[in-house]
Every structure is written in C-alpha cells, then in structure tokens.
Symmetry: C2
Subunit: 300 residues, 2 copies
Amino acid sequence: MWDSLRDGLSKGDVQALARTISLVENEAPGCAPFLASLKLASIPIIGITGPPGAGKSTLTDALIEQYIGQEKKVAVICIDPSSPFNRGALLGDRIRMSHWYNHPGVFIRSLASRGSLGGLNPKVIEITDVLKASVYDVILVETVGVGQSEVEVAGLADVTVVTIVPEAGDEIQTMKAGLMEIADVFVVNKADRPGADTFVNNLRQMLAPAYARKQMEIPVIQTIASEKKGIDTLHNAIEHVLQYKEKNNLRDLLLAEKLWALIQKKRMEGLNKEMLLEKIKNQHHRNLYILLDVITKESL
Amino acid sequence: MWDSLRDGLSKGDVQALARTISLVENEAPGCAPFLASLKLASIPIIGITGPPGAGKSTLTDALIEQYIGQEKKVAVICIDPSSPFNRGALLGDRIRMSHWYNHPGVFIRSLASRGSLGGLNPKVIEITDVLKASVYDVILVETVGVGQSEVEVAGLADVTVVTIVPEAGDEIQTMKAGLMEIADVFVVNKADRPGADTFVNNLRQMLAPAYARKQMEIPVIQTIASEKKGIDTLHNAIEHVLQYKEKNNLRDLLLAEKLWALIQKKRMEGLNKEMLLEKIKNQHHRNLYILLDVITKESL
C-alpha cells in the first residue's frame, strides 16, 4: 500500500495524496518508515495569518492566482480552529476560496487544530512533508488568528505573512508582540480605507526594533486583495525573504525547530495526561518531583 | 547545603529562599533530589496577566495589601519579558510595587522569561514549588501581556486573572481568543473611565460561549486599582474560583499539566537545537524522519 501511495504522490495523483494525508494524520501503522522513505523537494511553505476579518482568505485566493499564472502548482492547507470563537466567519472564508477546489494545479485541504488553545494540527509538519513529496511548487498555510495558531505557524513556514487592516490603527500599541515577532512580511490589506497611509507609517516605526534584531527589514505591503491590487509586490517580497533565508541558512534553522518538535512528540509517546492525573490523585503529598523520578525510572 | 536551605525555607528565612531559587533556576547539582524532598503546602497560585497598560502591577499591589490585611504572607513572582517590546513601561511597573520590598510578610522576585517569544521562565514551576515549601499563604505571579507568557500562565496558576481597561472597547471583537480561554476572572480596571459599563456588558456577552464550555461562570469585576476600589470583590471572586476548582479536582488537573511539562523537559535534556542544526546540515536530503530515527536509536 505505502509503495503505491508513494508512487501516486510523485505522479501528482490527488486521490493518493488525499489518502496519504489521512493515513499520516491518523498515524496508520507503517507511517514512520514511509515518511523516512520520501524524497522531499525543497519547496517553500508560506504561512498566512492575522486577526479574523483581515482578509486572509481573499489574500490566499489572490496568491493562488498569482502562482497559477506562473504555471506553478499550489498546495493549500487551511487550519480550522477547534476554538468555539469565530467559527461562523471562518466557514464564510472557506467558501470564498472554493472556486479553486476543482483546478488541476491546486490542492486544498482543511485540517482541524486539535490543541485546546487553537494551535496548529499536531501532524501538520508531517502533512506538509507529504506535500513536498508530491508535485507542488509552493505550499500555502492559512491559519485564522485566534488562539495560538498564528504564533505556531512561524515554526512551520519559511515565510510568515501577517495580514492586518487599517481599522486596527488605534490598537497598534497593544498589538500582540507575538505577531510582531513572527512576521517576515506585513500586509496591510483593504489599503483603500481612510487612514491607511498613517497606519502603515506607524507600523513601520513600530517595527524598527524588530528590524534591528532580525537583521533584515520587514516589508510592509499595501494590498486590496479583493481587487488583486498589490499582489505582485507581495509576491516579490515573499521571494526576497526566501532568498535571504536561503542565503543565510535560516531555512535549515527552521528544520532544526521542526526536528525538535518531532523528537519531543516521539519521546512523549505512550504518556497521556489522564494517566498522570491518576498518579497524582494516588499520591498524598502532591510532590511532582517524586512522580517525575518514578516515571523516569519506569521508562528506562 | 541543601539540608540547611530546606530548614531555612521552612522557617521563612528570606536569604535561604532567595539562594534556593537561584540554585534551582541554574539547575545546581543535587537540585532534583532536593525538590523531591520538599514538603509542599497546597497554597494557591494566582496569575495576573493582560495587555501592557492595563494596570496589572497596581492591581497586584492592591491584592498584596488585601492579603497582608488578612495577616497572610504573600510571595510575588514578576516575569520580565526578554522581548524588546515594552521594556520601558515594564520597569515603571516594577518601581510602583517597590514599597512592598521591605515588608516582612512579602517576598518579591523578578524572573526573566527566557523563551524567544516571551513565555514564562523555564524553571517557574520548580520555583513556585520552592515557595510552597516556605511560609507563604499565597503566590501571585504577574506576567506582562506580551508574547506567550499571558497564555502560559494558565498552565501555572490555580486562578488566572485577566486585566483589561475600557479603552479596549472597540477591540473586543478582535481580542485574542487565548485571553478569553484562559481567564478564570476578568478584571475591568480603571472602571471610572467613560464607556466602562457598556464595555463590561459587551464582555459578558462575549464570554457566554466560554461559560458553557468551562461549566462555570467567568466573573467580570470592575476595579479602580489605584484607589483600591473593587479589590474586596476581586478577592472574593478569586476565593470562589479556588473553592470551585478544589471541589471539582481541577487543581489536580493543573498538577497533571505541570507534571507533563516537567517530564517533557527531562526527556529533552541533553539535546539542543544547535546540535540538531549540525545534523541537518550534514544531511543531503533534508528528510527529518531519517534523523528522527537516528536520534531515537542513539538515545536507546
């Protein structure tokens, strides 16, 4: 089975791809050696995040069109939050992108975030690697900006694009530093709204300390995604960041982060929190270090 | 050495306490058996978080006064972000609380967050446990709301108090869901500002889905911390949450989360990301699963 799936992947068979992703997501037996047997293309992952209502899906839509216009094949992963917040708005987003579902150069897959605080899907590293073993030229990962997914995407994507809108102007002072710190590119979408220029200038000033730390400029791009305006400029900025990261071995640094996450997951296999809770309840003194010692000895 | 420190802790010797915290923070040899030998009191940890400028330090200050008025001893941990943002404002906060530094019933310690995205200090679980082996009746942990620390505090504190101000009114729709999901108690501070009542009503409506999920009401308390107004009510709300969590074994659930974090840290000991980066650079194919397999076999 795995051999024929690998074969299907390399030929761009969409059904094989969809099936492989499901098997990997559910940790089917044989999954680990299968992943180790894949030849992975060094294609970029572009993360697109930002608060709800910033137009991330419209922007993703416009980026797909851009890549398709260059005769590139595009894979898109949408992370749906498990959080009870903003679910309605999100479904609306998904529908907007649907006209790409049947295009032969585009593969779209939604994944549920499974962490309680709305992070990425626990298998997203493996799933994007499956895509790298197929025929695609670029992977877009769209995460709705609720919970942790907007920060976690920086651990997955070679380029993280943070999308915001000018209305957010007054909030800039209290904008979560997390977003500031993960952005490789800022998009100010709906840039025809009043106050957009002032907003962009303020944002550039706010970003100055981050420039210094990252030793690279963080471009601020104005777009009107619904009219496809500014998408060329955004695409160029993304390419520029990619080249910079390639030249400075920063893409390998990201791989090291991913390897760390994979090792951690592997080393925690077979443990679960319910089990730990039972152990704690059976102990009078509530001293975790005694339990830590017991569990460490058990696993040796 | 460790024996006399343990003795000092149990007698409330502040110098022994400060020295123990430093040794634990730096993982001095003998630290693990020392921690396992401690008798930990089941005192509550109260986390206080929220965006910069919400008045967290003034609120912490007022809470200290409240506990001291009840003849309780209070330990306070302030997490200073390693993030380059808001550093100035933060120092201002610290100074405001300084008149408690010499009070015999109060112990205050600042810890640096060491994670790149401004999380909590990596040893904060162990350090709060050291405090539990001393003479204190309650531990307050104040984290400035930049980066990840505001979400991570929920994994440390028995009661998480999220502080915001009415000016944030327009932002409520885009307020990060993380804050909504971790809050056990909301404080609307500076509640004498115009629009405060409307803000509180909107917030209560927004919280309705979270009520349903948590199966407990999340109280919204109005305070003017600088005038000590509303602090009684806040204190009662905190006590109420504590009793609820105690009754429903939710405090043990938190301990299970902490044990999980401790095991994870222990199992990743001896690995670092620089080492992984070297391994990746020496590999042609950039397939992480081959490396994962190699590293798993090495550690057996």
